[in-house]
Amino acid sequence: MKILIEYFDCQKVSGLRGRRMYRIVAKEELNSSVTKIVVEAPLVARKAEPGQFIILRVDDDGERIPLTIADYDREKGTVTIIFQIVGATTNILNQKQVGESIKDFVGPLGKEAETNGYKNVCIVGGGVGCAIALPIAKKFHELGAKVTSIVGFRSKDIVILEEDFKKCSDKLFVLTDDGTYGTKGNVTAPLKDCLDQGEKFDLVITIGPLIMMKFVVLTCKPYGVPVTVSMNPIMIDGTGMCGGCRLTLLQDGERVTKFACVDGPDFNGYEIDFDEAMSRGRMYQEQDRHANTGSCNLFSADKDNKSER
């Protein structure tokens, strides 16, 4: 508590100007379009749990964008985020160097991933979704669960975090769409193999493009394995105030509206209306495409899979 109070008291607060900023203390390019940064944010680090996210604003007048907490260090008071450069804000963020600061950084938001009580889990990540999945895989590993990780990328040059996954997985499958690295193919293939071979997962967690998550759910369905999916709809406030992040669950034949920022981001995969979520994810696309078109990110797989209006 002492530390907290000191943290606040040294905060230079003067109206809307000159507030304390969130300093970047480390930066690493994971591949040409994915960057990892470590940010000083002691309050966020103090409470952060796997599965939660932050919302940041790089500069005044900037957009608020959500990014998952990829790691945290409570002692040092830092939070790590890994982001794919897909548009305006992630581009501006990527221009910031070590020592520079981010204007706003709020969190931890959303519910933490449920990790207690599981013995044998499978983590299925796609693209930058692997960054989101990593802290969850780590946590399961720490808790002594058997962890099978299946990570998929479009191509060799964008494979990220392989070493990190190795460390916390009992089994690791790396795949690329074009076969330039690891096994060629889709993440659902090794998942199905495992299930066919009688692997008794008590939970499958999948994080990545919606279309991938949809197929992971379909793959697991015949085996009756519970699936948790991590939903990443467009968000603004992240506190349940705008409803922009809403999605529809099908619960006992009823359509129920939930807000991903407070009720999620994790949901029961069997209840998600994926088609609606994919459609909503493209809402701002025409306007958003003002910068980089990105190669493999959480959203582009959807874009490629369905042709747009």
């Binding site: 508590m1 907290l4 109070i5 606040f8 905060q11 607060v13 003067s14 109206g15 809307l16 507030r19 309050l43 966020v44 409470k47 604003r57 007048d61 900037g62 957009e63 608020r64 305006a88 804000t89 204007k103 706003d104 950084f105 709020v106 969190g107 931890p108 938001l109 603004i236 406030d237 506190t239 349940g240 105030m241 705008c242 409803g243 922009g244 809403r246 999605l247 529809t248 509206t257 407070v262 209306d273 609606e276 459609s279 909503r280 493209r282 809402m283 701002y284 306007q287 958003d288 003002h290 747009e308 209006r309």
Partner: protein, 461 residues
């Protein structure tokens, strides 16, 4: 003595110009007009207007100073009861509060109390008053108070407490203070510089503002007590948007009013070069009839859309502020009364294409005394539109409820409090929209003041 029957009119920007920009619409009285208007006040002994004011401002008192050309004194009188006169003068529904009780209003038009309040506040703000504020600084008493939420209720509570020497910190979830005043009410009705000015004044008096802290996530209420706060005021507002649960509400192009207004106001989507996307298309339908609906409609028209407001009762029941309804009409917004949506239809790409509505008629008044609208069978019709904005009201944000033990809530999610704003848990107070559900700026402000008083009494005895 001859009475002047009519209220002096408010000068406004021309409707054809303003409907294309976000500049403030109402321009405010000049000093001469203000004095003229003040002279219409009869200075009644029993002051009926004061009973209509949730903050009990001494209305005839301040008006008599305006009459005498002493605007500073007038400001002093108002600031004894309200810390946000420049805001309230602009956004209070005066026609159903102070002005509805005005004796002049029985036979003629009431005195323009809101307009005078605004004039006095603007006059004061136009002078450099920082030094004056500093001079008034009091001896700190070292008692720490935490306020959650920086809307009007939190700000008013903070103001009263800091002036009594308390050490006040406000925790705000968003990156900007002001609550609805910042993210909801648009620039053309309440310029953001006014809120900035009010907040800066509080900060120069010693209030600490901590943005980007979501209580219940970043810190919780127990942390605050552990950090040494002796009392906590929960003024987190009512931010949770309601939907109608009709088919098609998740289509692309359907917004909650909060999302739409947040994008426009907080994220400045209206500014050229802003990164925040907002798209309304050529035609927008707004569902609802409160201030929120009218604000959303007026923002949409300013973004270049044609706008229709559909409301299930009649014009008479519209809950929005009268002046805003008039302004909205002047700006070309169309109203369809006795109309209720039942479905939103999409085009082949999942975007909104039309909204299907049913005709309503009014029947017996319900418990609230308002005529209850009932559907006319077989009266469906379709309105072609590109966007739909749902402005159906909001309920209190559940975050505090989900993360704090020992506080009682009512069935609508509002925090249960006693007359002094005390909750069922020792040391925790609540007020504003978090208690009442969406209400008004002035009632939120009044609640903040009551709690400030209760805190002073319980902690400085």
């Amino acid at each position: 003595m001859a009475f002047i029957a009519k209220m002096n009119s408010m000068p406004t920007l021309d409707a054809s110009v303003r409907s294309k920009n976000f500049k403030e619409v109402a321009l405010g009285y000049s000093a001469n007009v203000a004095i003229e208007e003040a002279k219409r006040c009869l200075n009644c002994k029993n002051k009926p207007c004061v009973t209509g004011c949730p903050a009990n401002i001494d209305i005839p008192g301040f008006i008599s100073h305006v009459k005498n050309n002493d605007f500073d004194k007038a400001f002093e009188v108002i600031s004894q009861s309200s810390c946000l006169p420049a805001v309230c003068g602009r956004v209070c529904p005066q026609e159903s509060q102070c002005e509805s009780k005005c004796t002049m209003g029985v036979k003629f038009e009431p005195v323009g109390i809101g307009r005078l309040e605004r004039f006095v506040a603007d006059y004061h703000n136009s002078k450099d008053s920082d030094n004056e504020q500093k001079a008034k600084q009091v001896q700190p008493n070292g008692i720490k108070i935490a306020i959650i939420g920086s809307g009007p209720s939190g700000l008013s509570c903070a103001g009263d407490l800091v002036r009594e020497g308390f050490e006040v910190s406000i925790y705000e979830a968003l990156h900007l203070p002001g609550g609805v005043l910042s993210y909801g009410i648009p620039e053309f009705r309440l310029p953001k510089r006014i809120i900035r000015k009010e907040v800066d004044a509080l900060i120069s008096q010693g209030v600490k503002l901590k943005t980007n802290v979501v209580i219940g996530k970043t810190l919780d209420i127990d942390d605050l007590f552990e950090m040494g706060y002796k009392a906590i005021y929960v003024s987190t507002g009512a931010g949770l948007p309601k939907f109608m649960n009709i088919p098609g509400e998740s289509l692309k192009g359907v917004y909650s009013a909060n999302e739409f207004l947040t994008r426009v106001n907080l994220m400045k989507a209206y500014k050229e070069g802003s990164f925040t996307p907002i798209s309304t298309g050529e035609k927008t339908v707004v569902v609802g009839g409160g201030n929120v609906a009218i604000d959303a409609a007026r923002c949409a028209i300013r973004l270049g859309s044609k706008v229709t407001v559909v409301y299930r009762r009649t014009e008479k029941e519209l809950p929005a502020r009268l002046e805003e309804i008039e302004h909205a009409k002047e700006e070309g917004i169309e109203f369809m009364f006795l109309t209720n949506p039942i479905e939103i239809k999409s085009d082949e790409n999942g975007f909104v294409d039309s909204i299907v509505c049913r005709q309503m008629k009014l029947s017996e008044p319900d418990e609230s005394g308002r005529a209850r609208p009932v559907e006319v069978a077989g009266s469906e019709f379709e309105i072609k539109t590109h966007s739909v904005i749902m402005a159906l009201g909001t309920s209190p944000n559940p975050l505090i409820r989900k993360t704090t033990k020992g506080i009682k809530f009512n069935m609508h999610g509002g925090i249960v409090v006693d007359d002094n704003g005390k909750t069922s848990r020792e040391g925790i107070y609540a007020g504003g929209d978090a208690v009442t559900g969406s209400a008004t700026v002035i009632s939120a402000l009044g609640a903040g003041k009551r709690v400030a008083k209760a805190i002073m009494e319980s902690l400085t005895k």
